[in-house]
Amino acid sequence: MLKIKQVSKTFYLGTPNEHQALKNIDLTINTGDFVTVIGGNGAGKSTLLNLIAGVLLPDGGQIMLDDQDVTWMPEHKRAALLGRVFQDPMRGTAGDMGIDENLALAARRGKRRGLGWGIAKSEREQYREILGKLDLGLEGRLGAKVKLLSGGQRQALTLMMATLKEPRMLLLDEHTAALDPKTGARVLALTEELISRQQLTTMMITHNMRDAIKYGNRLLMLHEGRIILDIQGEDKRRLHVEDLLHMFEKASGSQLANDRMLLS
């Protein structure tokens, strides 16, 4: 369970560019929830995710993951609890290392690294099996360098890496935005399969309203650093894009003028 209490984040504090990206956020996400997050550019989606991941530290407030206060915990320590996939497919994997080596690095997330082998023989067998289920043809190329893979393959691999050692929470930051629609849909289907198989508590940022409605059991909409919509359960299942647009206008008092969200 994730509990965020009174969390704000200000950038460029004390300069003319001072900008409050998040304003007194209160949010509780229950274990097993799959939450999708939408909002325009600068709404604070990525800031929220980066605060949970520890890439950024908040101005104040509290972030609890299960019963652990992680508000000020550094990124590399918090990594033991979190699985993350980024928007840029290059960012989640080490291009000059093999597929197997990347998986082995991920298998050791949150563990103390010592002078044992970086990858054991028995692991390779296990990885081949896992990749075989992906059906991307990667199981035969275990030693291939990751930079030889396509963006979609890299994102699928990053997803495997994020869930290889079960995280308390999975954070997805527009992880299909850089892919072509067909590949993106495939990666999303894989995402949902992994999440439901492991019952992962998940937060997925997306700019695509249809995806936000289709996936997950709860939907948040952010606008100018606040959560303006929070829809779950039966209400979410009956939701349509038109409803979302209408609710946005009512809640924010402005038109949703973001082509990227409307057209995709």
Binding site: E75, A79, A94, D96, E101, R113, L115, M161
Partner: protein, 298 residues
């Protein structure tokens, strides 16, 4: 002629150990570390001073390595804790080391006349004189390559490689990149100082200027190795660095024999490295040019 080339090969191996140190920072960690010029001299200074005072020469070289580690640690702390960009942090350490090296030596030059060194030891036990440098170089080289090959296959070693490849990714996987950066710099400069310590004993003196341009020589060896020997696995890439260092020494020896003034050597090396660095760019530009031509003709 044979002995001239043979001695160039020996020097290439001894300097190749320094290039392996540069390989750790420059290629594995992706960190342009100019500490090298200072830590090479530091290694030579420590090794010469201790040997001249009657310390066991092998122990002197090991202590020289510890000196190199401290130099790498300094650059690492400047970079990770004070957030000074890597290039600048390492230049600061390098400049500071100039003063420190003079302090260590007490004078700009320490001769090792009639002082026992690792190299005179081997002569004393009857090792053929002309093969001593190569013998010492090969033993240390084999040890260093074996250790590097093992270490970069371990969990910590893999984390260092991943840090050089993609720091964002490895942080998200729970590695503190400050630690891995510092570790890589410490190891790289330990090897650089080891090489400096051996060279000082081999040439029979430690000198305040012996490390000047060492980083460029290290880069030359790495790039020549990469261009001439296509690399398959990690072991082969490490060997290629040594081969590159040897080729560099042979080229230097030959151009000096053909009349290049030894004072022009650094200019020559700089031009060589610049050309070698341009080579991959030139290749891809040429490929693109050919493709365009093919399209136009078709």
């Amino acid at each position: 002629m044979f002995w001239i080339i043979q001695s160039a090969v020996s020097l290439g191996i001894l300097w190749g150990i320094m290039s392996l140190g540069v390989y750790i920072t420059f290629r594995v960690l992706n960190f342009a570390d100019l500490t090298v010029d200072g830590s090479f001299t530091l290694g030579g200074a420590v090794s010469a001073v201790l040997a001249a005072r009657g310390v066991n020469p092998l122990l002197a070289v090991l202590i020289a390595m510890v000196g190199g580690m401290m130099a790498g640690l300094t650059t690492g702390l400047l970079n990770t804790k004070l957030r000074i960009p890597g290039l600048l942090a390492s230049i600061l350490t390098q400049i500071a080391l100039y003063s420190i090296n003079l302090r260590v030596m007490g004078s700009p030059n320490i001769p090792l006349l009639r002082v026992p060194t690792i190299f005179t030891w081997l002569g004393d036990i009857g090792f053929p004189t002309r093969w001593i440098s190569m013998g010492v170089g090969l033993v240390f080289m084999a040890g260093v390559i074996a250790l590097m090959y093992w270490f970069f296959g371990t969990e910590i070693g893999s984390a260092i490689r991943a840090t050089g490849d993609n720091p964002h990714m490895i942080r998200a996987l729970g590695v503190h990149t400050d630690t891995t950066i510092i570790l890589g710099l410490v190891m790289g400069n330990a090897l650089v100082a080891l090489s400096g310590g051996l060279i000082a004993q081999q040439q029979g003196y430690g000198d305040i200027g012996m490390g000047t341009g060492a980083i460029v020589i290290g880069l030359a060896a790495i790039i020549i190795g990469e261009v001439l020997f296509t690399q398959r696995n990690f072991m082969f890439r490490l060997m290629a660095v040594i081969f590159g260092s040897i080729v560099y020494r042979i080229v230097i020896t030959l151009v000096l024999r053909f009349g290049l003034k030894s004072t022009d050597l650094k200019l020559f090396t700089a031009v060589l490295v610049a050309l070698a660095l341009y080579l991959p760019v030139m290749r891809s530009e040429y490929r693109q040019f050919k493709q365009r031509r093919r399209k136009i003709n078709a």
